[in-house]
Amino acid sequence: MTILVVIFIVYNIIIYTQGTSNNTPLMSEQAIKGEKLYQENNCTACHQFYGLGGYLGPDLTNVISAKNKGAEYVKAFLNSGIKTMPKFNFTEEEKEAIAQFLTEVDQTGHYPIVEADKKANGWVDMKYKNQ
């Protein structure tokens, strides 16, 4: 039991530092403000990043760089209240912040991952943006 606890502590420290290290730039103040708005309105109830979140709305990992989408497309949706999505009342400044947050998330990687090297042993080598 003691050995397991020691492993657990060391493992956590490694995960919090080296295991989750990546070359993604730190989020800007504007993006963090956008993330706060994303959370306060519980957008994750419907939307996903990297396939993690709710299933009623589309995944937003690459909504900024996707063909025929982008920051203006996102901002147009925010106060429209389409389908199940509530009609929000974001100011222009808030819409900019959310778009900035999504732009910086987009720079962290791809989802879904269509370019992957699938191995016979069940492993998959994925091609990431920042590693």
Partner: protein, 442 residues
Amino acid sequence: MKKISFIFITLSLLALIVGAIFGTLAGIQYVKPDFLKDVIAFNKMRPFHVSTVIGWIILCATGGIYYYLSNVLKLNLFSKKLAATHLVLFILCAIAIYGSFATGKMGGREYFAYAPIISIPILLGWILFCINYFKTVVKQIKGWPVYLWMWGTGIAFMMYHLAETNFWMIPYFRENFIKDITVQWKSYGSLAGCWNMLVYGTAIFLMSKIKDDENIARGKKTFFFYFLGLTNLMLGWAHHTYIVPTQPWVRYLAYGISMTEWVVLISIILDWKRSLSQEKKEENCMSYKFLMATDFWVFVNLIVALLISIPYINLFTHGTHITVAHSMGTTIGINTTILLASVFFITNRENPTYLAKYAKLLKAGYWIFNVSLGIFWVCLLLGGVEKSIWMYFIDNPSSFGKMQNTLQPYMYAFLAAGYGILIGILMISLPLLSILIKKKNT
């Protein structure tokens, strides 16, 4: 002490019913987007559902542990005042969580959508439970059976991982999106492992008491599985984040750890076959019936869990309803059946004749619940396959909205099955609630 246990369990059953009602209302919004949109839109309805059903699991497991320590194992609880404070804290937290959703003051993290400040009294409640549990058990029992280890480690790790879910407020995590999302899902994977320790510990406790065989909780194989579960709790979370660009060794390790659960599956198949001959002997025991249902749901869910832990398969299933089938199958099929078995065990112990008059209703409720859950589960799997095809196997995929429309037949069947689950839960829970309320007042 009985009264406190009964209040925990009564509240948990109410949470199960209310959580299932929120679930079916949210299900309607899947097929009718305008349903209650202006009153309680999906971004609020879902957290009401999720938090309430998590409340069911936590409150029922906790009430059961308090009851078993005091009334079955006959231990003197270290402090009744601590237990009462724990109960009051959790009731206040439940009110605060509902208030947070109703007023829209949300933290907005998946599964923990309430205002983050509420995590402090929740954590305090767990600390009180931890003190009470270890102070009670350590002095009075030497050579713990496995369920005491499972409850103890579940409570202890719960405190750490509950705190970990709030690491996003620390700039070091928050400013790096990949670090943040990885640690977030690490904590969720481990938290599920923690409540599984509480619930599976309860299952082993029940099996040993129903069969009156303490060896079930003391054998070498039992402890081997306990350590395997603990290892998975600590290290096996990363299959949730194979897709997130973390260091490859994190994913390698998670893949290896996850695959150790095949051992559990093989053992379940063998034990299941062996236990079949005893079914007739104990078929009138509702606790036994629910544990048999658990056996079935463990079997089918473990197959899905193991398959989607293989990175090659996970690539196609991640982010689809197949993952939802896995999480719903485990929380409803496994956790809920074990906890209902626990409530039946307690009520039957308190008043063996009372439930007999509801035997037909309970039996019908049992089958409606399980058959509906089966349909619900299959609909989610099929919906997940459709979504995966849309994501990976079509050259020019249609819009997300059009893809959602193709899922409608599955979603209607899913909704109907959801109502079946709710009806089954009502048929089972209402007689249990009536006996608990009567006992609480005597």
